[in-house]
Amino acid sequence: MNQIQGAHSLPVNEEQLIKGCLRRDRIAQKQLYDTFSPKMYPLCCRYAKDPVDAEDILVTAFTHILERIGQYRGEGSFEGWIKRTVINEALNFLRKKRSMFLTTSIEEATYEMASHHDNDPLEEEDLLRMINELPPGYRIVFNLYAIDGFSHKEIAGQLNISENTSKSQLSRARVYLQKLLAERDYSPKHLPHDIAS
């Protein structure tokens, strides 16, 4: 019987993994980290501009995950629980570092010209680089809304701002990214994936 009851039934390997982590089995803990860290590390890189900060966020987040794995009650997917934990740690980190100030106008934001001006395909690292060029406030809201799927209401609650502020920040982030893409001479056909615009 699946001891971890919830709305979703876990895959057998995930269930075994969680049980092992509950027993503080180091092999199971390492396996969990190896399974989910490749997805979570880029997420940390999106929120923290500095790679060193991204690693700090990842370490703190997975330490908490492995210590508090008993808090997962089976509500929602296990990956979703891990993702929310990592995002919370990222926001806490930025809050402590006071990097969450929100830029009020786009004129205050400064950005660097993209290093590539040719028609090289946009790779994930390019997109990541563009995200990191955003001012902190734009970056956080854009990540939360556009990539991680939070609503403006949830963002407002997380960042202790109003929904209108969240919307304005998102709008400004989009404008900023479009400028960057334009300077990059972005073309959909250059993306590695077949993405319909």
């Binding site: 180091r26 997805k39 880029p42 330490t63 492995l66 989009r174 990214l177 893409l181 972005y186 994936h193």
Partner: protein, 257 residues
């Protein structure tokens, strides 16, 4: 481009996999090991502190209970000693703590008979005798001048318990002391002294005033009070009541002014 870049970035970065630096897992492992080692110490320390606190509280309670039991045991021991002494005929004869009454009564008796006798009692000697019980009771010999110039002291022992009290006034009757002649000779044996000057069932004091007794007598009285009292705080309660009554009285005086 007018369409928002959301989809572009979501699709490009949403499923992006990137391996973390190897140092990340090492740091996580260290954190897990540190937390694993710390918890037992914290639990042990917390348990130790709780144990000390509980022991301290129990010790405090025991101390308070011991003080009460010691006081009552002292009193009960003294009571046992005194009752034993009184019951023993070969031991000292215990006479009233109100030696003044005895002296007065005897003095009256003596005065009614033309004898030259003195009755003396020495509080100091009483105390000393209390510490070392006297084996023999002293006969009271009162002789007049003519026959016997020597006048012996009447040794009066203080009573060590309220069990035995002298009621010389009621016990001694004039017909028992008969002056056959000018030469009046009063001789009391131990039994007579016990019978005449010792009351087995003394009536309780009319008032709760403390008698002017020696220190040991006070301790005995206190022990008896403790055995009778339900709470060791009765003394404090009494003092408090006295203080309150004094306070009320003083307030009344002030209002009357």
């Amino acid at each position: 481009m007018t369409s928002p870049p959301d989809k572009l970035f979501r699709d490009g970065l949403g499923q992006y996999h990137k391996k973390a630096p190897p140092s990340a897992w090492d740091r996580i492992e260290n954190n897990l090991d540190q937390k694993k080692n710390h918890f037992p110490w914290m639990k042990i320390a917390a348990g130790f502190i709780l144990l000390i606190a509980a022991s301290f509280m129990i010790w405090k309670q025991d101390q308070a209970a011991t003080e009460v039991s010691q006081e009552t045991s002292v009193g009960s021991e003294l009571l046992a000693i005194t009752s034993k002494q009184l019951a023993d005929d070969n031991r000292e004869s215990s006479v009233v703590s109100r030696e003044e009454k005895v002296e007065d009564n005897l003095s009256q008796i003596i005065e009614s008979n033309p004898v030259d006798a003195t009755v003396t009692s020495s509080p100091q000697s009483k105390v000393s005798r209390l510490k070392s019980p006297v084996s023999n009771a002293q006969a009271i010999n009162i002789k007049d001048k003519e026959n016997t110039p020597s006048i012996e002291q009447i040794e009066i022992m203080t009573e060590q318990a309220p069990i035995a009290q002298v009621e010389a006034g009621s016990e001694i009757s004039s017909h028992e002391i008969v002056a056959e002649s000018k030469r009046t000779h009063f001789t009391y044996s131990v039994d007579e002294v016990n019978a005449k000057f010792t009351k087995q069932d003394p009536t309780p004091d009319a008032t709760s005033e403390k008698k002017n007794t020696s220190g040991l007598q006070k301790v005995i009285d206190r022990a008896i009070d403790l055995t009778r009292e339900e709470s060791v705080l009765a003394d404090l309660r009494e003092k408090k009541n006295e203080l309150l009554s004094f306070t009320i009285l003083s307030e009344k005086r002030e209002t009357n002014k």
